[in-house]
Structures are given as structure tokens and as C-alpha cells.
Subunit: 410 residues, 2 copies
């Protein structure tokens, strides 16, 4: 199912929405001192609590050094209906050997006591330095002293690392006359100093959803949104996307059909908005890069082509310099692995055609440079081979990216 | 066969060696005006000629937009014994539709007339702008007026694009009491403005080599050297490696055994030296990065792990900043696809152990920073799973890389 083609008018953005907007969710956030860098919001530990058990689903990193919180959350999602998520920034609890799992379990134990829940009802996520152990003393104090009356926005703030601003988006839809909300918070702007591994995203809804259906739509939405974002091609040890549906809207549980489509479209909009915020806030980025691949022989071809083009350092540097360098698009496309017939390829940059059916099209260079000076550059590639379509998002590559990621110890 | 372990004392570097050092090779080079940028050597067209037919072999780009010269050289290598190579810089003859092959064929026709050879005895390579047609008028004038009495060094200079210096290396070996020379020239420092696609490398030898054996050893050497270099992960439309063996040393043709091993070792040394020169001269680079992966479960695992670590933008930025950020090595290793047992991984940076058997090792951060300030940073990763070993080369990621590749039109 592709969503991007049909905008659904019954999906209404919710101004000021946050993960606590859907019925029955509350947030507590605090600063315990783990996040010792950056001038962004001084919050580094937060709890998201649902007043009733949720249907939950998650999508996690494929990195073979998946961090302990990833393993534990995956386990707990299998075992129980989640009630709460604990997130911390400043320390990834990754690359620390067996201590990682010991501390991850301890974190859920402390939260279970605090919230009067069983350990398996608690999911956790960490983002921060790889190779440093969690400071369990201050985490314990932090969790125990958190009051669940923070603003819902604080959840997004507490997981920020080098993010320049919190990332939130929410929509409302009606299912059988019942108004429901889908809200999300995300962080992640690259793999960030010092190893601020990670894209984290948490979505809440008060709609009732069938568990199997939720698992399938969240995976599909992730494939089309978060998995199509590339800031630097480096995937993290801690990437986590979790959705909690507490059903307090009391609709008939959604398990497909028209309601399923409506929910899936709305979820896609939330994920896409967050994914684009992540791409646009890429480390050092000055522009959002959107790459649309059309008419690929297959969907996997379209996806790999869009992702490879989005991730090309050379193209990203050209986007930064307003250089209409379509040759770099061609090069990245050629190495992507997607099937290509050279004489069928067309390339557009911000709607200016630069190659048509495999031949370069003369264009006014100055006009192209002007077109590229916008805060969003859209590259459209038509392959003329089939109906595989995909969109990927990224950002330009700037001196600032190098500075952020290199210039700490010199 | 892995060469790097056993340095062969009978391989002698040849001071000042170049592609015309082996018997019977001559070079002509000129400037026709195609290369309009950079302050490097003003030569952009060159001919390498052997006075007798050669056994030839080549390794070419896997990019699906392989340029016309790549197609034509591959064809001609199948058809005839090569006598000459024509190379130009400034224009890649790629991404120009059918005109690419027309111009490539014309280039061989003009050279065939000039040199009194058949077209199929001529190989060609181009590097430069993608999407611009070859200026055939000035190329024709250039080829017709070239005199074959240039210095052999001029061949390496004529193919430079944003290379900061020519890349040459030669060795001498003795086969059955006969002295033979193996010499190479290369260019390539990334995918370079404006789309200076390409790694080009040409190797000459006066040793007599069996054709099948030559094909197999050049492929093997490429896999262990040029194919283990990553400047920015972007592969070009024009990558070409060609070896010509004219047999004028009059040894018994080498087709394996001890002589084959000796030749293969020497060829590996030439390719490795050139590959390291390319990595060290990466666009904007200040340091050579060498990544050694040991004890992988298989050779492909070792190679993909070494290449993925070498290509990580985050690690490359950390290397630039002298940041002993081994978490980024772990992250890249985890996403490389290589098999990994987390509790068996050890990581060293310039011989300082930072992780052992999956656990972080406390180290003196200042000492590590000092160790990283050398012009070569060696990262050694032990996987503890088998005997797959591989080495990859790259460079650090600097603000200058972004500047070179982005700051043209602003």
C-alpha cells in the first residue's frame, strides 16, 4: 500500500499535539545529569504512562550490536501488554558487555516499583554514548522522583541529543463517529557525538487496534518513512520505533477494511512528518532533500534507488552548494543495484528536467541554481520500467556536519 | 591468496619508475583544453604505446551507468591483443546517450590512423564531467599532433583531476635470471567536481605472462587493493584498471608456480602502493585510514566489515578530529552484515586496545588522542570467529571535502 499519492482529507493535524494528547496517556520528565552536552532542553529521563494496558508493536534496529534496551523491549513486547515507556538520553547502554542487560532489567524493575506495574509491562529506550555504562544510581533516583504531571512535550525534549528542536506531530481521525488521536515524538539527527546513536520514535493512540493489524501497519509505515531517511548512512545500535494503542476511544478494534485504511493513512502521515523533521534537522543540515523514484521495475528497486541517491555524500555536498549536478544522481542510481535501462532514465531537480530518456537536456544553469536555493530540494527520477515508486528523505552535507562529528578533541 | 603477510624481499621498488619504465613502452601527452579547472599539471590527453602486441586484462566499474570508454575497452580486450591506451581527463564521456559510443569509437579510429594500428588494438579511458559530450575536434587535433616522446611521468599527470599529485609506483623482480619491471600509474581521489568520476589505473610490464593467468591475478589484486579503497562510498561510471604485458623481457610466459607467485606478489605491491596513494590523497583528506579486520568467519565477511568501517562518515569525521571514538567502529561493524559474536570483538586504534572480547577497556584518553594525531590511523578489529583477514584504506572526512564538492556555485 502506498499512501503518499492519496492525501486523506479526513486526517486533521492537531495543533500542539504530543504523545500525551490521546486519552489516558501521561508524561513525567526530569534531568538527572546524564546529558552533559548541548544547550538543548535540560531533560534526560522521561516516563510515558498509559492508564490502561496497551496493544503495542515495535520496529527495532537491524544493527548486530543492538543495545540492551532494544533486546529487552523486544522481549517485553512479546510477553505482555505494555503500560509504560522509559526513555533516557546521554547514555546508549550499548557496547558494554553483559552489564548492559543487567542495567536494562534494573531500569524496568525500578520503574515497575514506582508505577505499580510488572516489569514486562515496561519498555525502555536509551540514546547517547556507546560504550559507557548507565549511571544506575542517578537513574534510580530520577525514576523514583519523577512526577507524572509533566507536559507531554517534555517527553520529546527528554530524548533530544544534538537535535536542535523537539520533534512532535499529531493528527485526529474519526472512526465510526468516534474521534481518535494519533500522536508521535521522535529524535535523531544522524549518529551523533559522542556516538549519539539513534533514531527513537514513540507513537501513542487512544484508538482500539487489533494487535496483529497494528504490527503489520507499523512495519509498513516504518518501511515507507523512518527507513527511508538517511542522514549519513550510519545506522545505530539503538534505533527504536514503538506504538502504544490503549483503546480508550472505545471504538470497535480496527483490524482492516475501510477503518484500517483510514488508520493506516493517518499513521503514515504522523510517521512521515516525524521522518521529515529528522531529515531536515540532520546534523549541520541547511536543507531537506527529498528523492522521489518513480516507474522502477519493483518496489524494492524504487526504495534502494531512492535511498542510495539520498545517501550519496557527493550529491549531498552538491545540494549544499546549490550545484545542479545531476551527474551525481546518475552515478548514485547506477551503483544502487536497481534495474536500469540507461535510455529510459529521466532526472528532475526541483522540477527542472536535466536528463530525459537517457540524454542530457540543456537547461539554464542560473535558473537551476536559483531553484536549488530553496530550503527543500526535490529530486525526481523516472526509470520507465514499471510502477515501483518510493520517496526517501535526507539533507545536505555541510562543513558543520564535519565540525559536529569531528571537532571535539582537537 | 593473501599477500600482505609475507613481504617478498626479491621485490625491489624502482625509484622514479613510471609506466614507460618497462621495455618497449612509450608515452605521448598533450594539453588540448578539456581540463579547465584545478592548478594541477596542464596535461589532459595521453597515449601509452607498446612497440609490440600485449597480453592485456582489465577490471571495470560495476556501476550500471558504465561509461562508453568502459564498454569499448572491455570489448576490445576480448577481440585483440592491445597495443595502446588513450586516456583523457576533463570529460568522462558518460551519461550522454548514444553519442558516447560514437565518440569512443571515433577516438579509437583517430588513434588507429595515427599509430598504424587496428581500432581493436586500442583501449581508452576518460575521466571528468558526466553528461558532457567529448569535444571531438580538439581531441582529434590532440591525438594527431601528439609526439610519442614524452616523459613516462606525463601519462600519470594527464589523467589527474582533483588529485593533488601524480600517483606512480614501480618494482623490479627477477624471473629465471631475467629482470622484469612492473609499473603503474593511477588517479582518483573521490568522485570529484564536476563529477570527476573515477579511479583509473594502468599497469605495464615487460614480463611475458599467460593471458588466463594475468586475468586471474589482476582480478585478485584489484579485489585486495583498489576494491578496498573508499573515499566517499560513491563508485564511478568510469572506474578502469588495465594491465598490459608486452613480453619483451623474453622470459618463459608466467602461468603459475613459484614464478606466478613472485609475479603476483609484485603486482600486489604495485596495486597496494597505488591504492594507498589514492586513499591518502582523498578529497580534503589529512590522514590515511587503514582498517584491518582479522579472524572473521570468512573472507567476504572480513572484506565487507573492513570496507564498511572505512566508509563510515561518522568514523571518518572522528578520525579527522583525533577522537578515539571506538563506538563508531562498533556501530559500523554492526551494520556491515558480517557475522559477529558481540563477546568476541576486540578493537584497537593505533595499537591501543579499546574493546576486548566485547567489553570496553579503560584507556588514557589523552594518550589515545596523541596516538591518533599521526598521519596514518590504523584501526584493527578482531572478530574471533575464523581466519578471514582483510585490509581496507580510506581517509578522514574534513570540512575541505565538503568545500571541494559543494562550494562551486554559491
Amino acid at each position: 500500500m502506498t499512501h503518499s499519492q492519496h492525501a486523506n482529507e479526513s486526517i486533521k493535524p492537531l495543533e500542539g499535539g504530543n504523545v500525551a494528547s490521546p486519552r489516558g496517556f501521561s508524561v513525567g520528565a526530569t534531568y538527572v545529569g546524564m546529558k552533559t552536552f548541548g544547550d538543548n532542553e535540560k531533560l534526560d529521563l522521561a516516563i510515558l504512562l498509559s492508564e490502561s494496558p496497551c496493544v503495542g508493536a515495535g520496529v527495532f534496529t537491524q544493527n548486530k550490536f543492538a543495545a540492551a534496551p532494544v533486546h529487552l523491549s523486544r522481549e517485553n513486547l512479546e510477553e505482555a501488554q505494555p503500560r509504560a515507556i522509559i526513555v533516557n538520553s546521554g547514555c546508549a547502554n550499548a557496547g558494554v558487555g553483559d552489564q548492559g542487560m543487567i542495567d536494562a532489567r534494573a531500569m524496568t524493575s525500578i520503574a515497575a516499583s514506582k508505577l505499580n506495574l510488572s516489569r514486562s509491562e515496561i519498555l525502555i529506550a536509551s540514546t547517547g554514548v556507546i560504550g559507557a555504562e548507565l549511571p544506575m544510581g542517578i537513574i534510580q533516583n530520577g525514576i523514583e522522583s519523577i512526577s507524572l504531571d509533566s507536559s507531554g512535550h517534555d517527553f520529546a525534549k527528554a530524548m533530544m541529543t544534538t537535535d536542535t528542536h523537539p520533534k512532535e506531530f499529531a493528527v485526529e481521525i474519526e472512526i465510526e463517529g468516534v474521534k481518535g488521536t494519533i500522536a508521535g515524538a521522535a529524535k535523531g539527527v544522524g549518529m551523533i557525538h559522542p556516538d549519539m546513536a539513534t533514531m527513537l520514535s514513540f507513537i501513542t493512540t487512544d484508538l482500539a487496534i487489533d494487535s496483529g493489524f497494528l504490527k503489520s501497519v507499523i512495519k509498513e509505515a516504518a518501511d515507507q518513512t523512518f527507513n527511508m531517511v538517511s542522514v549519513d548512512g550510519d545506522t545505530s545500535t539503538n534505533d527504536t520505533l514503538i506504538i502504544l494503542a490503549n483503546g480508550l476511544a472505545k471504538n470497535t478494534p480496527i483490524d482492516g477494511g475501510t477503518n484500517g485504511e483510514k488508520f493506516s493513512d493517518a499513521l503514515f502521515e504522523v510517521c512521515k512528518a516525524l521522518a521529515k523533521m529528522i531529515a531536515r534537522d540532520g546534523e549541520g543540515a541547511t536543507k531537506l532533500l527529498e528523492v522521489q523514484v518513480e516507474q522502477a521495475q519493483s518496489l524494492p528497486d524504487a526504495r534502494i534507488a531512492a535511498r542510495t541517491i539520498t545517501a550519496s555524500p557527493l550529491l549531498k555536498a552538491a545540494i549544499y552548494g546549490n550545484d545542479p549536478n545531476w551527474g551525481r544522481v546518475l552515478m548514485a542510481l547506477g551503483r544502487s543495484g536497481a534495474n536500469i535501462a540507461e535510455n529510459k532514465v529521466s532526472i528532475f531537480m526541483n522540477d527542472i528536467c536535466m536528463m530525459e530518456a537517457g540524454k542530457p537536456i540543456p537547461f539554464f544553469r542560473d535558473a537551476a541554481i536559483t531553484a536549488m536555493q530553496k530550503p527543500e530540494v526535490v529530486i525526481r527520477v523516472q526509470l520507465g520500467l514499471g510502477d515501483g515508486n518510493a520517496t526517501a528523505w535526507g539533507c545536505d552535507l555541510t562543513e558543520e556536519y564535519v565540525h559536529i562529528n569531528g571537532a571535539y578533541t582537537t
